[in-house]
């Protein structure tokens, strides 16, 4: 892999064009339909061509890290829900495992399996939203509704197991908040059976649509080395052909017991690392998640999922950087404890934050419509970018 220091001028693309006219500064967002929240991108455009794009973030800053220093270890969990509100289960999981490892706590088997099931279900739900909103960015409205129809079924499952549909507060330090109710396991298996054929439908209407391919292939290519240097992770990095999945490469929970493949972009429709590859990695990952869910649900052991939840969380002084694979990529919690009731510091290394930071590097030279496609393919959630 090639190594180079990136010069400062990376931000401004120099186009040696004698016909170049004045640039127009365009403020895209914070209220714009396809910035996925309150992201502002300052564009310098030359006609339809984007010369530079600078994201301005912070419109949704909710002081998570400051909050976390003033609440108890357990109370942080509802706040982690609100980081990436599309995939709250995964956010809970990362924090819970981080604290468990600091406490050197062994978690009940059943709880571990339930965690994997909910995390993967949530991954599917999150990828579905990514897929639907991506279609919306490109201009296709209908797939958006189809994915919401299927996501609804996942939310119903979540509602049944933990009572909430979006902000679950389900994965706790030492276990899970509720054991699975009677018949829940069967419903999960039923859902997986229902869901897998539906992916073909999305492929028919969106993935293999010629217009969609033309819009996304060869657009916003992130070369692997640039992606790694910018800290891009998750499906966005795998789209660039890097075989890196924390579930495989740095296993946590019981992920090492399941059979699944790591999907990487192959450049089927264009260049490796273009937006279509990133999109396709998400679609194919839903299959893999479904596979994991099926295995986990079938092997779900008996037991008491709440057995190992400590009554009082006493974290010995120390520090730990825990990273997990959320739908958006590598979510890291850097937790420092001074042995007290509250964390001394919880830093969130949010995947969406790092993924978004690559935008100035790949935006120059694309069209405004492509920029929308690139932002969509990075699948950012502003709740996590701004924290």
């Amino acid at each position: 892999m090639k190594k180079s220091n990136f010069p400062e001028s990376q931000f401004e693309l120099q186009i040696p064009d004698p016909l170049r006219t004045d640039e127009m500064t365009l403020s895209m967002g914070p209220q714009h339909p396809s910035t996925h929240g309150v992201l502002q991108v300052i564009l310098k455009t030359d006609g339809e061509i984007v010369n530079s794009a600078r994201p301005q973030i912070g419109y949704l800053h909710r002081c998570f890290e400051k909050h976390a220093e003033n609440i108890t270890w357990h109370q942080v969990i509802p706040f982690t829900d609100r980081l990436d509100y599309i995939a709250s289960m995964n956010n809970n999981l990362g924090y819970a495992i981080g604290v468990e490892r600091m406490m050197n706590l062994e978690v009940n088997e059943r709880a571990e399996y339930l965690r994997v099931i909910v995390a993967e279900l949530n991954r599917i739900a999150s990828h579905l939203i990514a897929l639907g909103t991506y279609g919306l960015d490109i201009g296709a409205f209908t797939p958006f509704l189809y994915v919401f129809r299927d996501r609804e079924k996942i939310l119903d499952l979540f509602e049944e197991i933990c009572g909430a549909r979006l902000l679950y507060n389900y994965v706790w330090v030492g276990g899970v908040a509720y054991d699975a109710p009677e018949g829940w396991r069967e419903k999960v298996l039923e859902f997986v059976d229902y869901f897998e054929p539906k992916i073909k439908e999305y492929n028919d209407i969106l993935t293999y649509n010629k217009i969609f391919i033309e819009r996304t292939a060869n657009v916003g290519v992130i070369p692997a080395d640039v992606g790694i240097s910018y800290g891009v992770s998750g499906p966005s990095l795998r789209g660039s052909g890097v075989n890196f999945d924390l579930r495989k490469d740095d296993p946590y929970s019981v992920y090492d017991r399941f059979e699944f493949d790591v999907i990487t972009g192959k450049g089927e429709m264009g260049t490796i690392g273009d937006t279509w590859d990133r999109y396709w990695v998400r679609v194919a990952e839903m299959y893999e998640s479904a596979k994991i869910i099926r295995q986990a649900a079938e092997q779900l052991p008996e037991g008491d999922a709440k057995e190992t939840i400590p009554r009082n969380i006493k974290v010995p002084a120390g520090e730990y950087y825990m990273r997990t694979e959320t739908p958006r990529g590598e979510l890291g919690y850097y937790i420092i404890s001074d042995g007290g009731k509250m964390p001394n510091r919880v830093k969130v290394r949010s995947p969406a934050f790092c993924n978004l930071s690559v935008l100035p590097a790949i935006a120059p030279g694309v069209m405004i419509a492509d920029l929308v496609a690139i932002i969509g393919s990075l699948d950012i959630v502003l709740g996590e970018v701004d924290r």
Binding site: M24, L26, H32, P33, S34, E48, G135, L136, D137, I138, G139, A140, F141, T142, L145, Y146, R149, I205, L206, N209, I211, F212, E214, R215, M367, I368, A369, D370, V372
Partner: protein
């Protein structure tokens, strides 16, 4: 004498006793009002239909509350809402142009109705250059859109206006060429005579004439007309996910309603042209169905085309600007030239 005037004289015999100038004025006003009424009712119906079609295609059910049966009065309620809304003009907008733009777009759409042949007798104006006229007035819409986008003094609107100008001007060409392929055969530009040339059964319609050449011309016309009326996959001037609202970003209330009305009226106009030129206008597909009156056939065929437009809209993503131009100049235009050439050769041989 104009067929329309004849039609009214038959319908209302007392008009014959009036002085001619008065009778003509009255007939003109009545016909215009009829057209306007039709456009308004059609737009209300089409918007409701679009909502329903999109909803059912997306596993939803759409509006169900207002008016009772399947929310039929929803668009009426929405229209009333739009009409009573505050009329907002941005502070730095060019006020005159800003206010004029929706009117121009709507007028351009409405003017197209003047030459649509509903039946053999009811044609508001049976021009001998009807097709040329309709192509000309429909180009007016681009001026309105450009005005609206420019006058809004908003960068997104400007983008929408620029895109719209390039798109609509470019797509005039395949539209005209595809129609020319048929006109060459029929040897007339009058809408009435174009239909009458197709009398017979379904196989005499232009779309099946010179098979498959005119069928391809029909598809080219249909695709290009989608671009003419800014429908998905060519809705770049609006492009809500890229340009917020495109040229009508700053419009609200009644002016927005007029843009909207203009869009739906345009949808009907291009469908009606397709019906007239390719699908046999008011003629029934088979002889034994001729007991059903002509206007029903005409509106029915046009509505089918409108439905297909909606169907496409709720299926397809949007093209990018360069791909839009590619489709026009490198796909549709060469193909329509080829078809003209081939039909010419066919006629000669």
């Amino acid at each position: 004498m104009e067929p329309l005037v004849q039609f009214f004289y038959i319908l209302l015999p007392f008009l014959r006793d009036w002085p001619e100038w008065l009778a003509l004025t009255v007939i003109g006003i009545v016909a215009a009002l009829l057209m306007f009424g039709f456009v308004a009712i059609f737009a209300l119906f089409a918007i409701w239909l679009e909502r329903k079609v999109s909803a059912h295609m997306q596993d939803r059910i759409g509006p169900m509350e207002v008016g009772g049966w399947h929310g039929w009065a929803q668009t009426i309620a929405d229209t009333i809402k739009l009409l009573v809304k505050e009329d907002i003009v941005p502070e730095n907008a060019d006020r005159i142009l800003f206010k004029l733009a929706p009117a121009i777009v709507f007028t351009a759409a409405l003017a197209g109705f003047a030459v649509l042949p509903w039946t053999q007798d009811f044609i508001p104006a049976d021009l001998n250059v009807g097709l040329l006229y309709i192509l000309s007035v429909s180009s007016f819409a681009v001026i309105g859109i450009l005005m609206g986008g420019w006058a809004s003094n908003n960068k997104w609107s400007l983008y929408g206006a620029m895109r719209s100008a390039s798109q609509m001007v470019s797509y005039e060409i395949p539209v005209a060429l595809a129609l020319l392929a048929v006109v060459m055969n029929a040897g007339t530009l009058s809408m009435r005579h174009l239909v009458m040339a197709q009398s017979g059964n379904i196989l005499d319609w232009n779309v099946f004439n010179f098979f498959p050449l005119t069928a391809v011309a029909f598809i080219i016309y249909f695709v290009a007309s989608l671009a003419e009326v800014n429908r998905t996959p060519f809705d770049l001037p609006e492009g809500e996910s890229e340009l917020v609202g495109g040229f009508h970003t700053e419009y609200s209330g009644m002016r927005f309603a007029f843009f909207f009305l203009g869009e739906y009226a345009n949808m009907y106009v291009v469908s009606a042209i397709a019906t007239t030129v390719f699908l046999g206008g008011w003629l029934p597909p088979f002889e034994f169905l001729s007991f059903i009156p002509g206007p029903i056939w005409f509106v029915g065929k046009a509505m089918t085309m409108v439905f297909i437009q909606m169907w496409l809209r709720w299926t397809l993503p949007r093209l990018r600007v360069d791909q839009l131009m590619y489709t026009c100049w490198k796909v549709l235009t060469p193909f329509s030239f080829a078809i003209i050439l081939l039909i010419g050769l066919w006629k000669v041989i």
